[in-house]
Amino acid sequence: MATKNDNFSSLANIRKKRIRLAATVFLLPTFLLIAVYFIYPVIDTFVISTYKWNGISADRTFVGIQNWVTLLHDKLFWSAFGRNVIIMVFSIILQIPLGLFLATFLEQGGKKYNFLKVIWFLPYLMSSVAIAFLFTYALATNGGIFSSLASLFAGKKVTVDLLGRSPHALFTVIGVMAWQYTPFYMVYFLAGYGNIDPAVYEAAILDGATRRQYTRYIAIPLLGPIFKTACTMSLIGSLKYFDLIWNMTQGGPVNSTELMATYMYKLSFQQFNMGYGSCVAAGMFILITVIALLFQKVFVVKEDY
């Protein structure tokens, strides 16, 4: 008996060992990639944030928490954070309802609106840099679309300066962002509609619901969890936003579109202040993580369908 048991347990052990080995082998590449390109940089950013370093010199001076103290009192950083929050709020109240509206419209229209689906999705396919250039030209005070149209209607030369002064610039950029990202949420909600079991629709119609009632009272509530994910994505995206702003305004005029990320970039790569730039990056990391987790905590949607 004893020998038999031993045999069993050792066989089980061998099996366990093999699984462990296979798991290690299969996970290793992923782990290595994450370690090298994510974990290490994050840790290193926190390490660098305790140094005074210009980013190129071999000697860097350890300054402890001095950068962090500066960060806590840095008006530029906190006002940039404030603008990030404004962008976040407007992104969520603009992009998500608009995306849902477009998705609902397309969903109800069926196949005949397929061409609209393609056209409306195009902005999301363009790179931010291209969009930035496109809108810089369109918004130009000298021959841009808006100024030209305004001049046409007014019958004299009118200058519509949307990017050159504050607070117009920030809201203009928010508008461009909405143009860029709404299509993403449109497709996202479309997919959500697609995931609803057709039986639900059939049951609703059999019970005498109209198409509109079905959408309003059944389909949209069923999209609940998707809202939450969409909002979280929009939230994180807005807080770390960089590329479009950088290419359109570089944070100007007079810091009126400066975000945490553009501020970090300027410090690190233009002002030779990598230590403090890393501190800003690490600060961003903490802020975004905290806000995103809080958001998830507060807006718990029951995943019960």
Partner: protein, 482 residues
Amino acid sequence: MKMKKVMAVALSLSMAMSLVACGGNAGSGSSDAGSSDSGSADAGSSDAGSSDAGSESGGAKQTDGKNVPELTTDDMTITLWDIATEEPNKSTQEAAVARFMKDYPNIHVEQIHQQNDNYKQQLVVAMSSGKCPDMYISWGGGPMAEYYKSGFADDITDLFNKYDHPDFIDAAVAQGTYDGKVIGIPFGSLSGCDVFYNKTIFAENGLEVPETLDELEAVCEKLKAAGITPFALANAPKWTGSMYYMYLVARHSGNEEFDAAYTQDGGSFTSEAFLFASDKIQDWVKKGYFPDGVNSLSPDDGQDKQLLYDGSAAMMLHGSWMAGSMAADSQEWYDENIDVFRWPEDAEAKAKGVPQDVEIGTAIGNAFNFCSKGDQAKLEAMYVLATQYFNDDQYNKEQMEHLNTPSIKGYDAQVTDPCMKKITEVFFNASNVQLWYDQYLPASVTEVHKESMSALFGLEKDGKQIGEDQDKAMQEAIADSK
């Protein structure tokens, strides 16, 4: 589940973080990584002195008969970073390298053209990860000082004093020098800063070229009355508006107040000349001397010269490279309509004895900095490349063809384009050439200065406020460097 959420949030942040972190993976590795990409060159450095016989057998060279160091006959690779992505600079600079490699076939120059927009960032990343290119373009001023202090730009004073080099104008050598040591070899062209104006519009409205600020304001009034915007300015990148500020300061106080503000030793960016300049600019903005939406117009899209082209503006204070740029757009229109005058004098200041011949611009254009990591043979090779192949007759001839004037004595006499002739004369007659503030100031102050220019032209802050902002940044920079 919780862990999953944390991971999801964390992963989506990775983009933002990796941007900074990619510049942060070294700091200690600069010395060993340097030798790994120049292994063959290291071997060559030891017997550089004993290879005289070998190099003489290479046939006639451009450098024969010149006092230049004997270069190694061993294989060597030099990495060179420039920003010559576009013609005509691309072919001019590639040709210089080709001539060098023909004369020294054992030395391979790997010439990499970087995009100007990303270049400074690329360079910072390369330096921090120990992959600094052997020679690279810089613009002098604050960043060059930063490279030097961090050990990525060699002191070449000895080579410069011992061996031949073109007879650079003094201002160019001065701008390539930091802390009394020669660091940069100029290879671009000098850039003056003067007022381009539409002479046809001036003639039609019976206007004379203004020689004092009062006359300039009178001209502006008349242009305004004729429905023409006086100045074509595109201030989106802020250094364009800075030209007006710098010139008003220079005419009001020469170099004195800027130098004092720079050291913050009894001086300030709120001193009289700076307030004078700010007040003038804001007065002009209010009077409509600058185009509407000036802060959103960009010279990268040519939006300032377009205002000249369509006749809606009459004057443009700009760097002399604009001459070549406008001539390239339409030589005919340029010849017919464009002339140039130097920034008018401040009669009041002149009466008080303030010199009126301090000009704004750069004598250096571009310079090469060297990062030999202690490899003397390589440094010598790069010195020969920068002084004898860049900057040789062929190179300078091509430069002149593209309306660039090399920062070398004697070339001013050869300029034929009428505008460039005037610009060059102004430049060579200057008692002092003040380098653009945005290149001269420390990098952190530059950023504040540029934001100040945007606030100034946007009427969001007055002269005193921007002066205080700049003072604060300057004091922090000084404290930092101690």
